[in-house]
C-alpha cells in the first residue's frame, strides 16, 4: 500500500563516499522511474549538500562524522534531506570552496530549507517538484 518510496542511508563524511551517495540516489530515482532531467539536477544538489558536510560540518574533528541521507518520493514531490551532527552552520572565511554550493542547491530546488539538527549539526532539506517527464 506504499504510495511513497523511501530511502535512508548513513555514510561516513569522507570525500570518497560522494560517488556512493550518487549511486544510492541514482538507484532510488531509477527504481521510481524518475527521468533525466531532473535526475541529474537532483544528483548535483545532493552531492553539493553532502560535500558541504564533508568539508564543513566536522571541521577540526579528528575523525569524519556521519552523513545521514533520506529521500522520500510521494506523487511528484521528491524531498531529500542531508543531516549531520557537526558543529552547526557557521560562515567560514577560510572555506576551501568557491562558495558555489548553496547557490547551486538553491537554484536547483523548488524549496531549500536549512535548520539546526536537534542536538547538534545541520539539516538541509531539498524539495523537487517532478513535472512528469517522458
Amino acid at each position: 500500500m506504499s504510495d511513497s518510496d523511501r530511502l535512508s542511508v548513513t555514510l561516513s563524511s569522507a570525500p570518497g563516499n560522494l560517488p556512493l551517495v550518487r549511486h544510492a540516489i541514482r538507484g532510488f530515482l531509477d527504481a521510481s522511474d524518475v527521468a533525466d532531467p531532473p535526475a541529474g539536477e537532483v544528483l548535483l544538489a545532493v552531492t553539493e549538500a553532502c560535500a558541504n558536510v564533508v568539508q564543513h560540518a566536522y571541521v577540526g574533528d579528528p575523525e569524519p562524522g556521519a552523513i545521514e541521507l533520506e529521500a522520500e518520493l510521494s506523487g511528484n514531490r521528491l524531498v531529500i534531506s542531508v543531516r549531520d551532527h557537526g558543529h552547526g552552520f557557521a560562515p567560514r572565511l577560510d572555506s576551501p570552496g568557491a562558495g558555489l554550493g548553496l547557490p547551486v542547491i538553491a537554484s536547483l530546488t523548488d524549496r531549500l530549507e536549512i535548520r539546526p539538527t536537534p542536538g547538534s549539526g545541520t539539516e538541509i532539506m531539498m524539495a523537487f517538484a517532478l513535472n512528469e517527464a517522458a
Binding site: P15, G16, L18, P19, R22, D36, P37, G40, E41, L43, L44, T47, E48, A51, V54, Q55, G97, A98, L100, G101, V104, S107, L108
Partner: protein, 103 residues
C-alpha cells in the same frame, strides 16, 4: 577515481581526456592534471569531456581557475563534448565566458 590521459597533438593543443565523475574527492587530481597540461605551454588546452558523467561546483571552480590562468598568458581552455551533466552546471554559472565550450 577519474583518469586523466594527456598528450600533445599537431595543432599545438594539449588534450586532456577525462573519464569519470568529478567532485571534491577528485578535485586535487583534476587540478594537477590541468596544471600539467598548462605546463606544456600550448596555445590550447582542450578537455575531452565525453566521459565525464558528473561534475560538481568544486570541479567547476578548478576548471574556471585553470581557464583564467591560461587566458592570462594568451592561451585558452576548451571543453569538448560536454555531456548534459556537465552542460547543466556550466550553463547555470555562465562559465562559458572563460571556458570555450565546443559542441
Amino acid at each position: 577515481m577519474p583518469t586523466f590521459d594527456r598528450r600533445t597533438v599537431d595543432e599545438r593543443a594539449t588534450v586532456v581526456v577525462i573519464e569519470g565523475e568529478l567532485d571534491i574527492g577528485s578535485a586535487d587530481a583534476l587540478r594537477s592534471a590541468l596544471d600539467a597540461a598548462a605546463a606544456e605551454g600550448t596555445a590550447v588546452v582542450r578537455l575531452e569531456a565525453a566521459g565525464v558523467h558528473f561534475l560538481d561546483s568544486s570541479a567547476l571552480g578548478v576548471i574556471l581557475a585553470a581557464g583564467q590562468r591560461l587566458a592570462e598568458r594568451g592561451s585558452r581552455l576548451e571543453l569538448a563534448n560536454a555531456t548534459p551533466a556537465v552542460r547543466r552546471i556550466l550553463e547555470m554559472t555562465l562559465i562559458t565566458r572563460t571556458v570555450h565550450v565546443i559542441p
